[in-house]
């Protein structure tokens, strides 16, 4: 792999390591939740990166529908893969946090529930692509599906506040400036990792495609 890739990866390692060090060693525990809140430094950037990935999938899908360049579909697909990864991470860390702080691992909290629905939407996206044979049709159909999926997410959030109104929402934790800084550092690290992985994945699938085509034309 290229020098630049390794340098970027190294830099991101440092950023995330610094963030984690701050989160788990340097910063003090918080008033009500004590030490258990520290998982927030992983859960928060995960959740935001998940939304970034979802948005990129939608945008790339729309660009594919408009321009029909395979590049956009590769980006959409790679972003969806990473999105699923970060969604899973968010669900697991969020659930652990809830289990430790409030005793139950799942509370139908609006954000929690929306994340779970998002997980199913991502998985649906992959299944849809897998079950449509023609590659171009799969890309097109998946892009349309991602439009509906994306439109559903804000309504999912609103509906959980309306439909589950008896349940408490996750409160905001009082964050001092130093904590906020650590959170943003982690976010930058996570989004950086996402962007790097995205680029790598897109280049790899472009190379795969080129190799396939070369093999096809030379046979």
């Amino acid at each position: 792999m290229g020098r630049r890739f390794l340098l970027l990866l190294g830099a991101l390692w440092l950023v995330v390591a610094a963030g984690l060090y701050a989160a788990f060693v340097v910063l003090p525990p918080v008033q009500t939740l004590g030490d258990s809140y520290r998982i927030f430094y992983v859960e928060f950037p995960s959740a935001l990166t998940m939304y970034v990935a979802f948005t990129v999938t939608l945008a790339a899908g729309l660009l594919f529908l408009r321009r029909r360049e395979p590049r956009w579909d590769r980006i959409a697909y790679a972003s969806a893969k990473l999105g699923l990864l970060f969604t899973t991470l968010t669900l697991v860390t969020g659930s652990l946090w809830a289990g430790v702080s409030w005793g139950s691992y799942w509370n139908w909290d609006p954000v929690e529930t929306t994340t779970l629905v998002l997980w199913f939407l991502f998985v649906g996206y992959f299944l849809l692509r897998r079950f449509v044979e023609d590659r171009e049709a799969a890309a097109r159909v998946a892009a349309v599906f991602s439009i509906f999926a994306y439109a559903g997410v804000p309504m999912t959030y609103i509906s959980t506040r309306v439909g589950f109104s008896l349940h408490p929402t996750s409160g905001t934790i009082g964050l001092e400036p130093a904590m906020r800084l650590a959170a943003w550092v982690m976010l930058a690290g996570f989004v950086g990792v996402y962007a790097l992985l995205l680029r790598t994945d897109v280049s790899l699938s472009a190379m795969e495609r080129a190799a396939e085509e070369a093999a096809w034309t030379s046979s």
Partner: protein, 220 residues
């Protein structure tokens, strides 16, 4: 839209001739009522869960009924002809959607009252309102389910893929719908304003998106 009504009339005339789909849809909905009895036993305490059960009944019926629009064409060998026709994709979608909606409304008309009889539920406060909420539910499900059926026209394992795709997208709709229905059936329809608004907005948004994307779904 002239082509929409032409296509819709074609759908209905075909259905009126055989009444196959209608019988299956209504029968299925009634069977769900029967299965509920099996699942819950005689005279269960259903007041809390009745709204949810009714919405699930609608959802299951929709998942099986909505793909029939295209499946019928495929079975009759008319699918290619339909797709190749000059009718705009939006019209094809709208005709299938409205036909699907009519089937769902018919099944609700029968299965809704039977539900209350079979499960021994005391007469609900506002049955007309309840049916109204479920009718709106049918509209939203038909809007999304029909466009997804179009998306799946070239897919394998359609019968399983549709529910898998539909369920997470319909989740907010279902959640609001159950909340709305609960309030209506318990006699507080005035309190259901926000939920019904959400149902209406969802249906409107999805219908608009479907009309905008139908052509992409039906490309060859």
């Amino acid at each position: 839209m002239g082509s929409t009504s032409t296509l819709l009339v074609r759908e209905l005339r075909e259905e009126f001739r055989t009444r196959e789909t209608l019988s299956l849809v209504v029968l299925f909905a009634l069977l769900v009522d029967l299965l509920y009895s099996a699942a819950l036993g005689p005279f269960p305490e259903v007041r809390d869960v009745a709204p949810g059960l009714l919405w699930l009944l609608l959802l299951f019926t929709a998942m099986l009924t909505l793909p029939r629009g295209l499946a019928k064409e495929r079975e009759a060998g008319t699918l290619e002809g339909l797709l190749a026709s000059p009718a705009p994709a939006g019209s094809i979608y709208l005709a299938k959607m409205l036909a699907g909606l009519l089937f769902l409304l018919a099944s609700l008309g029968v299965a809704f009252p039977v539900f209350f009889v079979l499960l021994g539920y005391p007469y609900p406060a506002s049955p007309g309102g309840g049916l109204g909420v479920l009718a709106l539910g049918a509209a939203g499900m038909a809007a999304v389910g029909s466009v997804f059926s179009l998306l799946l026209v070239q897919a394998r394992a359609r019968e399983m893929l549709l529910p898998v795709l539909l369920a997470p997208v319909l989740f907010p709709f279902l959640l609001s719908g159950v909340a709305a229905l609960r309030k209506v059936l318990l006699g507080f329809p005035e309190e259901a304003g926000r939920e019904v608004l959400l149902l209406a907005v969802y249906t409107g948004v999805m219908l608009t998106l479907a009309l905008l994307t139908a052509e992409f779904a039906l490309e060859e």
